[in-house]
Symmetry: C2
Subunit: 337 residues, 2 copies
């Protein structure tokens, strides 16, 4: 597995993206920046500069933008119409080679549009996808598409299998990733028209296809890479988060039932904190838009400074692992697009 030698990585960061921008975003940049990781903070100086005072660091540089894109706008239109917005400018730093990746917590739609329209697809990749890493019980599970493509055809799911495999090999060091298809039964005759078509294509591909994976097995080592359309994938990812939150809330409530439970809960607290962390998307991995000519990392809208710093570190890791080049090499070569 070849990878770029360790060294300076430069990432652009949308200083105005996210519910807690710019304060938390700037703080995240300051936390993650280092001699090995330079952060180009893209934002309007009048908004961002107040939070930059006193950094005195050569590792964080302000790149002035002139506008912003809100989550209520139609993404493609906003991206086309506002080239000097922080989201578009951040993406442009990648397409112009000034940064190797772009990280942002703004509207997923705008990040997606900026990725597709500005960073642009790898030639041969039909549908760049959002790749996320789920906290499986036996290790990470690469899951895609988590929301880039609401409507898919079978050949797109095949492509997701190839993209996910590259990610698993380069980012997670899994030599021959097992690829599964999220479906509603284990038998190959089960599923929607889309799933049936994707099953045939995946089974005939050179990927290590292990068949259908049901929702209940997704976290239980059924496969290293699990593919689905962006609608099901987004629902699944958010449901997983919601279910974990609901359950931990119930566990907390259980710890207030009576004195015995209160003491038990207090004693168990440090261990439970680790459970929480293991299931926290801010901790366990970033979300990547893969299939583009540069790395794009999409953060949760409500990202804290910790989440932003982690996303920058994950992004720098992915750049060093050479994931974009691997996608270009493997999908750019074999695909017909």
């Amino acid at each position: 597995m070849e990878s770029r030698p360790a060294g300076m990585v430069t990432l652009a960061l949308d200083a105005e993206g996210g519910d807690h921008a710019p304060e938390e975003v700037v703080a995240g940049a300051r936390a993650a920046a280092s001699p090995e990781l330079k952060v180009l903070l893209v934002g309007r100086p009048e908004i961002v500069a107040p939070y930059l005072d006193g950094i005195g660091s050569a590792n964080v540089e302000l790149v002035p933008s002139e506008a912003t894109i809100s989550s209520h706008e139609e993404p493609a239109k906003a991206v086309r119409g506002r080239p000097m917005s922080s989201t578009v400018l951040g993406a442009r730093l990648v397409s112009e080679g000034r940064a190797q990746g772009f990280v942002g917590a703004g509207s997923t739609g705008a990040m997606l549009a900026a990725g597709l329209l500005v960073v642009k697809r790898v030639r041969g990749v039909k549908r760049p996808a959002i790749v996320t890493v789920l906290p499986g019980m036996s290790g990470p599970v690469v899951f895609l598409d988590a929301g880039a493509n609401a409507d898919c055809r079978p050949e797109h799911l095949l492509e997701f299998g190839a993209l996910g495999s590259v990610f698993a090999r380069y980012a997670l060091d899994i030599e021959r990733p097992r690829v599964g298809l999220l479906n509603i039964g284990e038998e190959e005759t089960k599923g929607s028209e889309l799933a049936l078509g994707a099953h045939s294509l995946l089974a005939a591909s050179g990927l290590d296809f292990v068949g259908n994976v049901e929702g209940r097995d997704l976290l239980f080592d059924a496969a290293d890479v699990v593919v689905t359309d962006g609608f099901t994938g987004n629902v699944a990812l958010k449901l997983l988060e919601g279910t974990a939150r609901a359950l931990l809330l119930r566990v907390r409530q259980a710890g207030e039932a009576d004195l015995r439970s209160k003491v038990g809960s207090l004693l168990l607290r440090p261990a439970l904190r680790e459970v929480r962390a293991a299931l926290d998307p801010e901790e366990y991995g970033g979300t990547y838009l893969l299939g583009l000519r540069g790395l794009v990392v999409i953060c949760h809208g409500n990202s804290s400074r910790v989440a932003i710093a982690n996303a920058l570190r994950f992004g720098a890791g992915a750049v060093r692992q050479g994931i974009v080049e691997a996608v270009e090499r493997e999908l750019g070569r074999t695909a017909d697009g």
Copy 2:
């Protein structure tokens, strides 16, 4: 809200359906049967009778079948070809008026096929759906379609909204249920072609439509009834189960980390048992195939005697609540099919 007066309910039960049939199924029947709930146990006498010895109860009656349907068979073909199988015969007891509902833990596909082909659709209902009740944090959430229709059109999701509303009103006593559409964003412009189309139809309907519900809000009181296609719904339901299982496993593992955690875990155990029960599909509700001329309750394949007994009790409750009649009255009248 009118409902059938309390009194004797008769339910057919597939004695040969499920991973633990017939032993657990028969035990479940014995546990649930009462002067108010008569169970017609459908199975081959040579298989079932050994477990019936010594009941001496007039509330459980063996109805002899002559074959069985396995989960590996093509359901519709098996149902058409084997009229004397326990699954088909159980459904026939409903269509012939000898039972008011049919409960089974066999293959979902076979239960579905028996429901559609033998019990038959209510005239006017296009797509009977699998309705399940999720353990929301503020109360039950009616969720459909959990797997009957892998491919849907927008008008089917509208129908699910109507079916789910009837269920919420009659089974859960929610006077004016809020109906939500499972989707990948809150804005009405978000989603797949299917979701966009369904959104328009639901918004224009007489239902109390509250808009899109994201995966992360499904358990957090976003709506009383949430509709989606049977593919997404089945993935979501199973993922919810899998996530709860993974998380409770992590909590248990956390309770073995060190002595402090062990003591904490021991003290918290009774309270956690309640959390487990609240999230256990065996405890919190049945899964109904709604839109048919009789009640069909589909149990988990791995149902224990407790699950079977609960499904029978839930089923009897649904019969007394008059859900089938309500569907016939409300959807049979207004639909054009």
